[in-house]
Amino acid sequence: MFERRDVWELSEEDPWHEIIWWYARAVTAMQGRDGTDFSDPTSWRYLAAIHGISIPRRSWPRGVTWRECQHNSWFFLPWHRIYLHYFESVVRRTIVALGGPGDWALPYWDYSDPRRPDVRKLPPAFREPRMSSGDPLDPPVNPLFVSERRTTPFNINQGDEIPPELDFALDTATAFGQRFFSRLTVDLDPSPEEELFARGFGGPRTGWNWAGGMPGVLEVVPHNWVHGIVGGWMSDPTTAARDPIFWLHHANLDRLWEAWLALGDPSDPDNREFRNPSTARWRNMWFKVGGGASTVTLRVREVLDTTQPPLNYRYSNIAVPSVPTPAPVAVLAASADQGPQEFFPEKVGASEDRVPLETTATEVEIAIGAPSGPALRERGEGAQPRRVYLKVENVRGKEPAAAGYLVYVNLPPGAEPATDPTTYKDRRVGQITMFGVLQASEPDGEHSGNGLTFSYDITDVYKRLQEAGEWDPERLQVALVPVLPGAAQGGDVSVGQVSLFYT
C-alpha cells in the first residue's frame, strides 16, 4: 500500500525531504525524454499533453491520446484519479530506475488548512530556481521551479502567502456542504431543475467531455481558483500539467473526494448522501490514459476504492477542518404534494446583451417578469417562488482580464466590493472562474464553443433581501467583480447571458 503524504509536513521535516527530492530527480529524467515531438508516453510533455496541449490535432504523433481532460463534467474526479494513477506509476518506475525507493508516492498540497498559515505558500522546494539539497546528484536546475507563475499582486515564487481576502477561493466548506455527488435528491434521472442547477460535489450528470456542462462545486472551489492563483502554466488547461505543482494540487482534490465520502453513514447503505453515483452510466464509463506498453484503461468503478488494486494507495490524512453540518437546501414554500415531484425551472428574466468581464466591476440589470408557466401554476399568482436560481452562461473569450469574478446581487449604490471581497458577503451568490475558458470557447473544441456556464441557488439571498425590503420583483442588479485582475486593461471574455429562474 502506497501512502500519499502532505507536502508541507514533509517540507517542515526537510524542504528537500527524500520524497520531494526523488520527485525532482524523476521530473528531470522525464523531461529528458521529451524529444522534439513528445511522443514517448513516459516523457514529461506527453504526460502534460494528456491533460491538454495547444498543438493542433493534425500535428500530433500517431496514436497519442492527448487533450483528454474532463472538466465541467460528471467525470472530473474519476478521470483525474486515473490520470494521476498513470502519472504516479511512471514517476515511481523512473525513481526505481534511478535507484530510488519503490514505495514512492505522490505528495499532496493541502492549501486549505486554516490552522497552518504556511500551507498557503507554495512549498519551498517548488520556489527555488536551483536545488539546494547539497546532494551531488542534484540536477543543475530545479525542475520543480517554474518562473512563469504569478508575480502580482503577490509573488508565489517568492513564498508570499495566498492573501486572506482569497479565503473564499480555498475554502472547502461549500463543497463539503454538498450532500450529493451530482444531485439534490436520489439517484434517478435528473429533472430539468437538477440538470440545470444542481451541481453537487462532483459535477452534474454529463457525458464524455460534454458541451455546456457545468462544474461541480469542488471543481470551482478550490480547483479552478488554485489554478488561477498559482498562475502561469497552471492557469491554462493546455499547459497546467507542465508545472510540477499541478500533480500535488490534483492529489489534494483526490484526497478531498475521499474526505467527502468519509462523511457518509456506512451503517445505512440506502442513504445516498456523501456517496458516489450508483448508476451504471457513471460507473461503467472507461478512460484510456497513456500510450505504448504502459497504457492504462480503467472503468470508473475500478478506481472507487483507492486501497484496492490497481490503485493501492491511501492518504496520510483525510481529516478536513471545519466541515459544516450540511444544511437542508433552502426551500421557500413547501409543495402541496410532499411526494417525489419534479419542478420545472421557469425563466423570468435575462440580460439583453453580452456582458463584458473586465478588470473593473461590471453591472448588469435584469428586467424580471411575473411567472406565467410552471412557477405560476406551482405557487399561484403573487406567491413566493419555491427556489430562485441565477445562471451565468456562455462565458466565452480568449484572454481573461482576471482569474475570476465574484457575483453579487442588488449591491447598494456606491458599494465597491472589488477593494475587499470579504465585504457584502450576504449579497454574494456565486463565483465565475476563468480556468479553461479559451478551450471551452473554441467552436470545434470539446465544449462546442459554448463557453463556461455557472448556476447558483440564490434562494437564501433572495429570502434575506426580500425580508429587508431590498428585492425588487421587477428588476435585479447583478455585479460581476474581478478577482486578481491583470495589470493591463483589456481581455475579451464576456458573459453571453445572465438569467433568473423561479421554480
Binding site: 460534454w210 452510466r281 464509463m285 408557466g373 456562455n394 470545434d444 459554448n450
Partner: protein, 236 residues
C-alpha cells in the same frame, strides 16, 4: 410526432416497390429498372409524381428533425415561458430552410448530374465509400461538436425571434457539415427504408451517444449499403 409522420410517409413511398425485392430498397426490381430510375428521378427532382418537394421535406423531417431535440430543449428552457413555442417555431423555420435547400441540391446533384454522368452503381458506390470514410474522419468528429452549440437568446422582442431563427440557421449548417455524406448516401440508395433507418441510427448515435463509436458507424454504413447492392445488382 412530426418526424414519425414523416417516417410513415417515407415508408409509404418505399412500399409499392418493396414486393419486388427481398429487402426494401425502393423500386430496384429487374422488371422496373428503367421505370424506377425515371420515377425516382421524377419524384426527387419534383417531376412526374408531383411529390418532389413533399418527398424532400419528408426526408429532411424524418432524418434531421429528431437530431434537434437537444436544441429544442435548450430553446424551451432558455425562453420566457410564454414565448417558448414561438422560439421553437422560429428555430425550426431557420433549421429546416437550410436543410430543404441543401437536400434539394443533393437530390438534384445525385440524380440530375452524377447518376446520368457515371451511372447509378458508381455513384452509389462513391456515396457509400465517402460516407463510411467520413464517419471515421477527425473532421466529422470536430463538426459533430458544433451541433451541441448553445447560444444566448435575447429574452423578448424581435431580437428574440431573430436570435432563435439565426440559431436554427447556424445549427442547420452545422448539421449539414456533419450529416451531408449520409444524406447523399440515403438519396443515392433511393431513400430505401432500410438504408434510411440504419443511416438515421448512425446519425442519432453520433448526436446523442455518450461516446460515439466512429468505427462501428462506418461499418454500419458499409454493411447496409453492401446489403442493398447485393440485393439490387443481380437485377440491374
Amino acid at each position: 410526432m412530426t418526424a414519425v409522420v414523416a417516417w410513415i410517409f417515407m415508408a409509404g413511398m418505399s412500399h409499392p416497390h418493396a414486393s419486388h425485392t427481398e429487402i426494401t430498397p425502393a423500386g430496384m426490381s429487374h422488371a422496373h429498372t428503367s421505370h424506377t430510375h425515371a420515377s425516382h428521378t421524377g419524384i426527387i427532382l419534383g417531376r412526374g409524381h408531383g411529390q418532389g418537394t413533399l418527398g424532400t421535406v419528408a426526408m429532411v423531417i424524418a432524418m434531421m428533425l429528431p437530431l434537434t431535440l437537444a436544441n429544442v430543449r435548450h430553446l424551451s428552457l432558455s425562453s420566457l415561458w410564454r414565448r417558448r413555442h414561438r422560439a421553437i417555431a422560429a428555430f425550426l423555420v431557420g433549421y429546416l430552410a437550410v436543410w430543404i435547400v441543401v437536400q434539394t441540391v443533393i437530390v438534384g446533384g445525385t440524380w440530375g448530374l452524377l447518376v446520368p454522368l457515371i451511372g447509378w452503381e458508381t455513384a452509389a458506390g462513391i456515396a457509400m465509400v465517402t460516407a463510411a470514410l467520413w464517419e471515421v474522419s477527425p473532421i466529422k468528429r470536430q463538426r459533430l461538436r458544433r451541433c451541441h452549440r448553445t447560444v444566448p437568446l435575447a429574452p423578448r422582442g424581435w431580437r428574440a425571434d431573430a436570435d432563435c431563427a439565426h440559431y436554427g440557421v447556424t445549427t442547420g449548417f452545422s448539421c449539414v457539415t456533419m450529416c451531408w455524406a449520409l444524406m447523399v448516401t440515403a438519396t443515392a440508395f433511393f431513400h430505401s427504408f432500410l438504408v434510411m433507418s440504419v443511416l438515421f441510427g448512425v446519425q442519432l448515435s453520433g448526436r446523442y451517444q455518450q461516446r460515439p463509436s466512429p468505427g462501428l458507424a462506418s461499418l454500419a454504413v458499409l454493411g447496409v449499403c453492401l446489403l442493398s447492392f447485393a440485393a439490387l445488382l443481380p437485377h440491374h
